[in-house]
Amino acid sequence: MALLEIYDLTKKFGGLLAVDHVDFAINQGEILGLIGPNGAGKTTIFNMITGVYSPTAGEIYFQGERIARPPLTWRERLSTPSWWMSWLPIAPLQEKWDRVRILPPHEITERGIARTFQTIHLFNNLTVLENVMAGPHCRTQAGVLGAIFHPPAQQAEEAYIVGEAEHYLEFMQLSAYRDELACNLPYGHQRRLEIARALATRPSLLVLDEPAAGLNEQEGLELVALIREIRDSGITVLLIEHDMKVVMGICERIVVLDYGARIAVGTPDEVQANPRVVTAYLGEEEEEV
């Protein structure tokens, strides 16, 4: 079974069809590239996978569980008994409702999908360490009472959070900047910090939105090596990227989008040889000139 399955995914913004009946699947342990010209709908798909948007039609399954579906209309809600009773703290009812409802982003992260952003979204005025400490947040549970009374469980958790954060800083070679403010890091480091933060949520699928954007050649190469290393540690990677060198270099399979629709899927060589892909890209270049 594939790790992530996308069926017939569609998203409309008003009259604009941003994603047009896209299907694809990500297998356990692979690096899948999602490419396409500007405005092809890549980031929209990302946002649907991570729960920021709900699809207009179609479904996404992660580890066999449905994580995205079109939102219930009011009529559907009213005719769904589990919606009426979802506020009752009764486990079977809650489970039933869980199968119908839309998951918010934080629950999708909890289920094991972590992401980075196209435009960097770091906690700018917090230190590098504090940024990464956001990752283990969803793996821990101390609440108000824990905060006030500091029971042993809470203390162990705090130690765990710091340990995890330090581990991933080490992994992304950022330990030296532990106590710097995130906004004072150079751009390339900020990108790596975002990945470190995502890894600290302990995902099974890491979704990277143009991680190489704005990096120079050297940094790009380092990034490729890092992504490989992440994959080798057992994490599946989905990658949106413009930089063809990066994509062709590390992706085992590539999905190509154009105008919201999937126009090709296959290994880098297959995709490069596909005439539709060539037109999509060359056509775009002509327009840009």
């Binding site: 913004f13 008003g14 980031t43 946002n47 920021v52 948007y53 952003f117 196209q118 435009t119």
Partner: protein
């Protein structure tokens, strides 16, 4: 025919709300700032109108209703000047300071204006000179009556609102205003003098507010220093109901709020009319935060 009567009264109050709401909505449009001081500028219109009328009627006792005209003009100019001054001193230095700082600054200005009014004029209720406003009533079908004053108020309000709408839609300055409300930087790149446009907004908004203050005081006959806050908050609710930043929305919102309030006072209880207004505001914000005429904002990361 109590219903029609209530409707007419509601429409009149609604017209006041609309006039004040325009000031809120225009400032929000160009600065994305809740101008808390607007209600107090409006109240100052009422106080200045009172002083102006008293002075004029003392000098020219036979002027009668004609005294209103020059006083309106003076009030409008003075309040507009104060508005521009407030913008220059309290808001412009904070243009780049994020969202919180200007709001607090606006609240601060509101307190200064209110405290000044209370200390200068005293906390007691003030009464406008009587006998200068038209008093006749025209009978409609049944028991419903519309007073001449109501007709005058409605006519003036619609005239002002129509003129403002045309100004914003048809003139170059109006177009520039709409551009500034979308994006300051791009407007500047397009050669629009953003500071000037904002200053114009702070002339028109408080100017209208000042006039509205005087009309309201003339209509009711008496008021006190809490007028600015109570009326201002209602007008702001009207602006939100219509979709803040949207000029026709402010007019519509004001009318609807006025009518709902009067009907609520008539059919439920006058004590609860303010509560009804606030609850409606909360409900609108829960289900349609952009207001009745506001566009749905596209979510974008």
């Amino acid at each position: 025919m109590q219903f029609i009567q209530q409707l007419i009264n509601g429409l009149t109050i609604g017209a006041f709300y609309s006039l004040v709401a325009l000031g809120y909505t225009m400032v929000y449009g160009v600065l994305k700032l809740i101008n808390f001081s607007h209600g107090d500028l409006f109240m100052w219109g009422a106080y200045l109108g009172l002083t102006g009328l008293n002075v004029l009627l003392a000098l020219l006792p036979q002027a009668g209703a004609w005294a209103i005209l020059p006083v309106v003009i003076i009030v409008m100019t003075t309040v507009a000047l104060v508005g521009v001054l407030v913008e220059r001193v309290a808001y412009r230095p904070l243009r780049t300071a994020g969202r919180l700082a200007p709001v607090i600054s606006a609240l601060g200005v509101a307190f200064i204006l209110e405290s000044l009014a209370r200390n200068i004029y005293g906390a007691s209720w003030k009464t406008y000179p009587t006998g200068i406003t038209p008093t006749g009533r025209i009978a409609l079908g049944g028991d419903a009556r519309v007073s001449v004053m109501q007709i005058v108020v409605l006519a003036i309000s619609f005239l002002i609102m129509g003129a403002l709408y045309l100004f914003v839609q048809r003139t170059r300055t109006g177009t520039a205003m709409r551009a500034v409300s979308l994006d300051h930087d791009i407007s500047r790149l397009m050669g629009i003098d953003v500071d000037r446009i904002i200053a114009i907004v702070f002339v028109i908004g408080p100017g209208l507010g000042g006039v509205a203050g005087m009309i309201v005081a003339l209509y009711y006959g008496s008021f006190d220093f809490t007028l600015g806050w109570t009326f201002g908050l209602k007008a702001f609710i009207a602006a939100i109901m219509g979709g803040i930043g949207n000029i026709p929305g402010a007019m519509l919102g004001g009318m609807i709020l006025g009518i709902i309030e009067t009907l609520g006072a008539g059919y439920i209880s006058p004590q609860w009319k303010d509560v009804i207004a606030y609850v409606i505001l909360i409900i609108i914000l829960i289900f349609r935060p952009t207001g009745l005429l506001g566009e749905r904002m596209a979510e974008k990361l």
